[in-house]
């Protein structure tokens, strides 16, 4: 376990975003999530309290931290991140898998968090925009997005970046045309595509 300098204002948001090494997250104050193997200290959220089998415990790795919590079976990974874990960097644009704003990595692959039921994530490794870069730095693609002005309103940006990182990793960023094709699951309504393609090209070339 590595030591980190104490933070002056450790909120739930910053706590989770800052968490970087292994170990189980106990989400303070959030109804529901508890340390693995412990019974909930208090009712784990109104939905999760139901004893009719419509809730379930799931343990997975989130941004490098083992996380165990009881979820409503209906809860999407997206809603879990946003509404319970306060990881609001992952955005809800359509809730139907059509816009890509909710793109995260599950077991190293880019997926739509809105169509991923949280209860199905047992044992999975999940990375969100908050976990992309460590130690407060920027991932090369994050830096490229700023340098190329590959964003305007910024709402689709976390999804674009998560998708772009995977696109590069998959080997689908060898030409602008290939990037255009393989990034077409991420809508940018501000119309930053020209710069997004440049940013991904820049990061893919390792510059």
């Amino acid at each position: 376990m590595e030591t980190r300098p104490p933070r002056s204002r450790l909120t739930r948001r910053t706590f989770i975003a800052a968490a970087s090494t292994t170990g189980t997250v106990v989400v303070a104050g959030a109804p529901g999530p508890t340390a693995s193997g412990e019974e909930p200290a208090r009712p784990p959220g109104p939905a999760a309290a139901r004893g009719d089998g419509t809730t379930g415990r799931v343990t997975f790795t989130l941004n490098g931290r083992r996380t165990s919590l009881v979820v409503d079976n209906r809860t999407s990974l997206l809603d879990l991140l946003r509404e319970r874990l306060d990881l609001t960097g992952t955005k809800k644009g359509c809730d139907a898998g059509a816009c890509g704003a909710c793109t995260v990595h599950v077991d190293g692959r880019r997926v739509n968090a809105c169509l991923t039921l949280a209860v199905r994530l047992e044992g999975a490794e999940v990375t969100t925009i908050e976990g992309l870069a460590r130690h407060g730095g920027l991932h090369p693609l994050q830096r490229a997005f700023v340098e190329q002005d590959a964003l305007q309103c910024g709402f689709c940006t976390p999804g674009q970046i998560m998708s772009g990182v995977a696109c590069i990793h998959e080997g689908h960023a060898r030409s602008p045309d290939e990037i255009r094709e393989w990034m077409s699951g991420n809508i940018c309504r501000c119309g930053c595509y020209v710069n997004i393609v440049r940013a991904i090209g820049q990061a893919a070339r390792g510059r």
Partner: protein
């Protein structure tokens, strides 16, 4: 979404048992979760097939390929067996949906997916396929992307799978559906050695509760929908 219980069987037998008691199978979930959110599907039990394997893509002795029903679209598209011998399959898959969805959706689910007709997906509209006997709102409504040929007077939706379109004209194919009665029967009837797709009957659920046309749908004529696909990439088709 209505509350539901969730199971993840580790064996085929358990999965079949869960389906027999009314559970709805989920593989990639990209169609089913969306439809549950829209209120079109409302299972009481979700049976997660992801623990069953069936993800392989491998050549069959004597020619042809065997593709596991739970193989992801992305994995099939990039499999060297597919890209070399069946590039049309690879291309059809890669022109479908988005990279994210192809990482999630399975081949079985892709072939067995429900219609993308707007009225099917809107529970406030009549739809024979969703609610048999209620009527077809697409006939006389907005049906620009629907069937011109081969439709019936009850439904004019086309099959949404790009893969299915690629398979139909150029290859003969076979699905082995795992039925809730436990029998593994080829369906539909045309079966060949060229490309075999083994599906887990992932999104059409128990045969008894499905609209009759939901799974043999592929056997019928299928009009390619050239104008759009799941992520709005209409004009990106090459």
């Amino acid at each position: 979404m209505r509350p539901f219980t969730y199971t993840r069987p580790g064996t085929l037998a358990e999965a079949i048992g869960a389906g027999r008691r009314g559970g709805r199978y989920v593989a990639g979930g990209t169609t089913l979760v969306d439809l549950m959110r829209e209120g079109v599907e409302h299972p009481g039990e979700l049976v997660d097939l992801s623990g069953l394997g069936m993800r392989g893509v491998r050549p069959v002795r004597g020619g042809g390929l065997r593709i596991g029903a739970l193989a992801r679209m992305a994995d099939v598209a990039s499999s060297p067996f597919v890209t070399t011998a069946y590039p049309v399959v690879s291309q059809a898959l890669e022109s479908s949906a988005s990279a994210q969805l192809r990482n999630m959706a399975t081949i079985g689910g892709n072939l067995m997916q429900r219609p993308r007709c707007a009225y099917f997906r809107d529970v406030s509209a009549p739809c024979n396929r969703r609610d048999p006997g209620s009527g077809c709102a697409a006939i006389g409504g907005e049906n620009r992307t629907h069937a011109i040929l081969g439709a019936s007077d009850r439904c004019v939706a086309t099959h949404p799978s790009d893969l299915a379109v690629a398979l139909l004209p150029s290859t003969r194919w076979c699905t082995s559906s795992v039925r809730t009665d436990g029998a593994s029967s080829p369906s539909p009837t045309s079966c060949s050695r060229r490309v075999r797709t083994r599906t887990g009957n992932t999104t059409s659920g128990p045969a008894s509760s499905s609209p009759p046309s939901s799974s043999p749908h592929l056997a019928g004529p299928c009009v390619p929908d050239t104008s759009r696909c799941a992520t709005g990439r209409a004009s990106s088709s090459r």
